[in-house]
Amino acid sequence: MSEPRRASPVIAEMTGACALPRQSGELVFDADWERRAFAIAVSLAEAGHFSWPEFQQQLIESLCEAEQRTPQNPSRDYYESWLVSLEALLRRKRLTVD
């Protein structure tokens, strides 16, 4: 065994609306940008640029916002809301401004 490879339960086991889309335990990504957006948020949180609960809170807000039209037919899907959250948090933390 080399270095420990382990997913964070705090991220992997989110429940409710922000639970990661999964199938038989495995994450489901529909497009490569979803993978990238996922990894960017996890990486920034691991590095301490924001805490995971901060991101999660933002994600919940984005998902709720998206569901305001109708919960069955939200205006954007899970990873689109993920991206909106990431952009909002980056702005708030001024991580993408010079």
Partner: protein, 215 residues
């Protein structure tokens, strides 16, 4: 306890299905993410290789495929199976899977006479490194209590019926010991390779609520 697959859980089901975005919309989203990524790389806040590694970890270590590889090896290699039943933690580490934090793995073997099923009655102790994320039903209070009191009724809900004379053993995982079921190899699979066998093995069979079927 009517649904046993996470993908059937309401909102999760609609989120898990393939999206119906247009190509144009996808391109736009791809650009938005690429813009963020390159900006963060420029600022030294993220690292491309680290992002790739994170994707790899989350995409491949959350599912049960490591456990499936362990079981398939045990089916084709009797010496490995012996080691697995004697010292599962070490035998699993042989295949490069680990990351347990002091817990011991114990593998229990299904036979024509004995059927094993695993639960964690206290919380949701689960062998992460081999099975990935626990399914939602594993954490349900209903599963945790009923499988102890009446395991056959739970098994029946998963479509698993056992002969009357088969003994059912329920194993309670804890912070110290994590159980993994070694399911019976289905009949008429002699021609399959280890890799093909691994594909037949799902997490339900390694928790013990289902048998492995020849797909």
């Amino acid at each position: 306890m009517s649904e046993h697959d996470d993908s059937h859980h309401g909102a999760a089901a609609s989120r898990a299905r393939r999206s119906d975005r247009s190509d144009e919309h996808n391109r736009d989203l791809t650009e938005r993410v690429a813009r963020i990524e390159s900006l963060l790389i420029q600022k030294g806040l993220v690292d491309k290789a680290a992002l790739d590694k994170l994707v790899d970890i989350y995409e491949h270590d959350l599912g049960p495929m490591n456990g499936a590889k362990v079981i398939a090896r045990a089916w084709v290699d009797p010496a490995y199976k012996r080691r697995l039943l004697e010292n599962a933690t070490a035998a699993i580490a042989e295949l490069g899977f680990g990351g347990l934090q002091g817990e011991h793995m114990v593998v229990v073997e299904n036979t024509p006479r004995v059927h094993n099923v695993v639960v964690c009655t206290l919380c949701s102790c689960y062998p992460w490194p081999v099975l990935g994320l626990p399914p939602t039903w594993y954490k349900d209070a209903a599963y945790r209590s009923r499988v102890v009191i009446d395991p056959r009724s739970i098994l029946a809900e998963f479509g698993t019926t056992l002969e009357e004379d088969v003994e059912v053993r329920v194993w309670d995982s804890s912070a110290e010991i994590r159980y993994l079921v070694l399911p019976q190899r289905p009949e008429n699979t002699e021609h399959l390779s280890e890799e093909q066998l691994a594909k037949l093995i799902d997490r339900e069979s390694m928790i013990g609520v289902r048998k492995v079927r020849r797909s």
